[in-house]
C-alpha cells in the first residue's frame, strides 16, 4: 500500500469510527434492552468466515479453476451437460441413503428456483427489461394452484392441467403489466414492477374470501400419476423414495424442459431480437424488429415460467401464504440472475442452486444471513459484475476476452 492510498483509508477510518460509535450508542440498554455478548462472538466468527471465503475466491480466480471449468464446458458441452444431469439425478438417492431427507426437499426447492431464475433471466438478461416484482407471478401461479385444488376439490389429475393454466394466467398478468409499461425506461420499469409486486402481495393478504388472507391456504393438492399420489412413499426395489424425492424428479424434469426451451429461445429469432433490443432499441427498431411485441412476449414468457414454478411450489409445500411472495423473494430471484450472469442460462442454474443451499448452510448465522446477503450483493457488483458464469455471447459483445 503506497502513501496516498493509506491516507485515503485513514480518512475513511474517521467517519467509520464515528458510525461505529453511534451504533454502539444505539446498543445501549435504554434503546435496545440487553446487548448479548454472543452477538459479538458471532460477528467475529463471521469476519473470519468472510476472510476465508475471500482467500478461497482469490485462489480460485488466480489458478483459473473457474476458467478450466468453463473451458471444459465449452469443449465438450454434451458430455458436460450429461455429467451435471447425472449428478442431479443421483443426488437425492445418495441423500436418501444418508437419511438426510430434509436436503432432498431443499434440492427440490432449488430446482423451483432454477425455473424462476431462468424465467427472469429471459426478461432481464436477454430482453434487458428490469423487473423487480417477479415474485408476483410466482405467487399468482401458486395461489391459482392452491385455490383451484382446495375450492373445486382435488380431482385426481387436475393439477397437471393447472400447470398450463397457471402459465397462461401468469402470462396474461405479464401482458397486463407489460402493455402499459412499454414506453418506460429501465429504472422506471423497475419501480413499476416493484409496485405491481407489492399490490399483488397486498391483495393476497387482504382478499380474505379468496386467499384466506395472512393465514394462507393449506392442503394444496399433490401431483398424481394414474392412481398414484406422488406425495406417498414409493418402493423401487431396495430403494424407498419419499414424496420429496418424487417431487424432486418431477421438478427436475420441468426445470430441464424449462432450461431447454430457454436455450432454444435464446438462439431463435426472438432471442436474437431480444438481445438486439437490449443493446439498442432504436437500432433494433430500424432493423424491423417489432419492439413492442418483443417486450410483451418477454413479459409473458417470463411470467409463464414463474407461474409454473408457483404451481410446483404450492404443491410441494402443500401450503401457500403471502409471505412466500414478498419483495425479498423478488430480490432473491433477481440476485440469482445477476449472480449467475445476465443472459447466461447455466449461470442462472448454478446461482439458483447456490442461493438456495447457501442460506441453509448458513443457518447457524441465523439473523446475520440477510445482512451478509446484502453485503454480498454489493461486493459482487463491484468485484465481478458479469456474474459467476458470464454469458459467452454477451462477453463477445462487450469486446472482452471470452473465458
Amino acid at each position: 500500500m503506497n502513501g496516498p492510498r493509506a491516507a485515503t483509508w485513514l480518512l475513511w477510518a474517521g467517519p467509520a469510527f464515528v458510525l461505529a460509535w453511534v451504533l454502539g450508542f444505539l446498543l445501549t440498554p435504554e434503546v435496545r434492552g440487553l446487548a448479548e455478548p454472543q452477538d459479538f462472538a458471532g460477528l467475529a466468527g463471521l469476519a473470519a468466515l468472510a476472510a476465508i471465503a475471500w482467500c478461497a475466491w482469490r485462489a480460485l480466480d488466480r489458478r483459473g479453476l473457474l476458467t478450466v471449468f468453463d473451458e471444459a464446458r465449452h469443449r465438450a458441452p454434451a458430455q458436460f451437460g450429461l455429467s451435471v444431469l447425472l449428478c442431479a439425478a443421483v443426488f437425492p438417492l445418495i441423500l436418501a441413503q444418508l437419511g438426510k431427507y430434509y436436503w432432498i426437499h431443499v434440492g427440490a426447492l432449488s430446482l423451483i428456483y432454477v425455473i424462476l431464475a431462468v424465467g427472469l433471466n429471459l426478461v432481464v438478461g436477454f430482453a434487458g427489461l428490469l423487473v423487480i416484482g417477479f415474485a408476483a407471478f410466482y405467487g399468482i401461479g401458486a395461489y391459482a394452484a392452491a385455490i383451484v385444488t382446495t375450492e373445486v376439490g382435488d380431482l385426481p389429475h387436475m393439477i397437471w392441467l393447472l400447470i398450463p393454466a397457471a402459465a397462461v394466467l401468469s402470462a396474461a398478468f405479464g401482458v397486463l403489466l407489460g402493455v402499459p409499461t412499454l414506453r418506460l425506461r429501465g429504472d422506471y420499469l423497475a419501480i413499476v414492477t416493484l409496485g405491481f409486486g407489492e399490490i399483488t402481495r397486498i391483495v393476497f393478504t387482504n382478499w380474505d374470501t379468496l386467499t384466506r388472507g395472512p393465514r394462507g391456504i393449506s392442503g394444496v393438492g399433490s401431483f398424481q400419476i394414474g392412481g398414484w399420489n406422488l406425495m406417498h412413499p414409493l418402493d423401487v426395489g431396495p430403494l424407498r423414495l419419499d414424496g420429496d424425492t418424487q417431487y424432486y424428479y418431477l421438478i427436475l424434469a420441468a426445470a430441464l424442459l424449462g432450461v431447454f426451451l430457454a436455450h432454444r429461445l435464446n438462439h431463435s429469432r426472438i432471442g436474437r431480437a431480444w438481445v438486439a433490443m437490449r443493446e439498442d432499441e432504436l437500432a433494433a427498431r430500424s432493423f424491423g424488429i417489432d419492439v413492442a411485441r418483443c417486450k410483451i412476449l418477454a413479459f409473458a414468457i417470463g411470467a409463464a415460467y414463474a407461474g409454473v414454478a408457483g404451481v410446483f411450489f404450492g404443491s410441494l409445500q402443500g401450503f401457500v401464504d403471502p409471505t412466500s411472495f414478498s419483495f425479498l423473494e423478488s430480490v432473491l430471484i433477481l440476485s440469482m440472475v445477476v449472480l449467475g450472469g445476465m443472459g447466461s442460462l447455466s449461470g442462472s442454474v448454478v446461482a439458483a442452486v447456490l442461493l438456495v443451499i447457501l442460506p441453509e448452510k448458513l443457518q447457524m448465522l441465523r439473523d446475520y444471513r440477510m445482512l451478509i446477503f446484502g453485503l454480498l450483493m454489493i461486493l459482487l457488483m463491484i468485484v465481478r459484475p458479469q456474474g459467476l458464469i458470464p454469458s459467452r455471447r454477451r462477453m463477445l459483445e462487450l469486446g472482452s476476452r471470452p473465458g
Binding site: I191, V203, M381
Partner: protein, 293 residues
Amino acid sequence: MYALVALGYTLVYGIIELINFAHGEIVTFGAFVGLAVLAALAGTPLSAAATALPAAFLVSMAVTALLGVTLERFAYRPLRGADRLMALISALGASIFLMNAMMLAIGRDSKPFPAYLSEPVLQRGDLVVRQLDLFLIGLTILLCALLDLFVRRTRIGRAMRSVAQDQEAARMCGVSVNATVSITFVLGSAMGAAAGILNGLYYGVIRFDMGFLLGIKAFTAAVLGGIGNLRGAVVGGFVLGISESLIPAILAAPPFSVPEIFDYKDAVAFGILILVLMVKPSGILGEEVPEKA
C-alpha cells in the same frame, strides 16, 4: 413528510441517475439516532421540547449524513460509470444490509417514540390540530425552501446542477464530481433523517423495517412530481399524502361504499405510481427527458 423523503431520492437521482433503494433505511436510521438522543436527554434539564427536539434533529441529521456518504463511498462510487443495473442492484443490497443491521442492533419490535408537542392548538368537533401537525408542515416547508435555495443560489448548488447535466463537462470545468456527489448524499441523508424523526413523532413508534414502505412511497412522490426536480418532489409528496388519505375515504363513503378499501390503503400509492408513469412518465412538474442511449 413524504415530501422530505422524496427530496432525498430526487436529489440523488437528479445528480447521478441512481434510485437509492437504501434511502428508506437511511430515514429509519435517522429516526433511531433521533430516538437515542431523546432517550439520552430524558431526565436531564434539557428534556424540554425546545431544547431536546433541535438537539435530536441536529445530531441525527449529522450522523445520518455521515452514513449516507459512507454508503455512497463504498456501495455506489465503485460502480459509477458501470451499467446502471449494477448500481441499482448494489443499492438493493445496501438496503437489505442496512435493514438487517438495524434489526440486529435494535431488535424486531417497534420502539415507542416519546411524544412531544402533542397539545391541541385548535379543536372543533372531530377536527384536532396538534402543535405537532403545524410543526411538521412548517419544518417540511422550511427544509424544502432551504434546500431549494441552496441548490439554486450557492456555488456548491451550481456544481451539483452541472454534475447532473454532464459529469464529463463538469469535471473539465474544474468541478470535483466525487465531492459533489458526496455533498448530494449529505444533503439527501440529512433530509431523510429529519423525515425519520418527524415520522417517529407523528406515529409514536418506529420499527427497523418502516423505511421500506416509506421509501417506496416517497419514490412514488418523487416520480409523481417529476424525478430530479426538487419542487416537483415537494408537490408530489403533498399530493401523494393527501390522495392516500382521501381516496380510500372517498371510496368507502357513498356512492361507492366499499369499506374494505382501507385494507388496500398501501396499494393506492402503488396504483397512483403506475397510473402516473403510464399517463405522464415525466411527472407533474417534470420536463421531458430524452431517452439516453
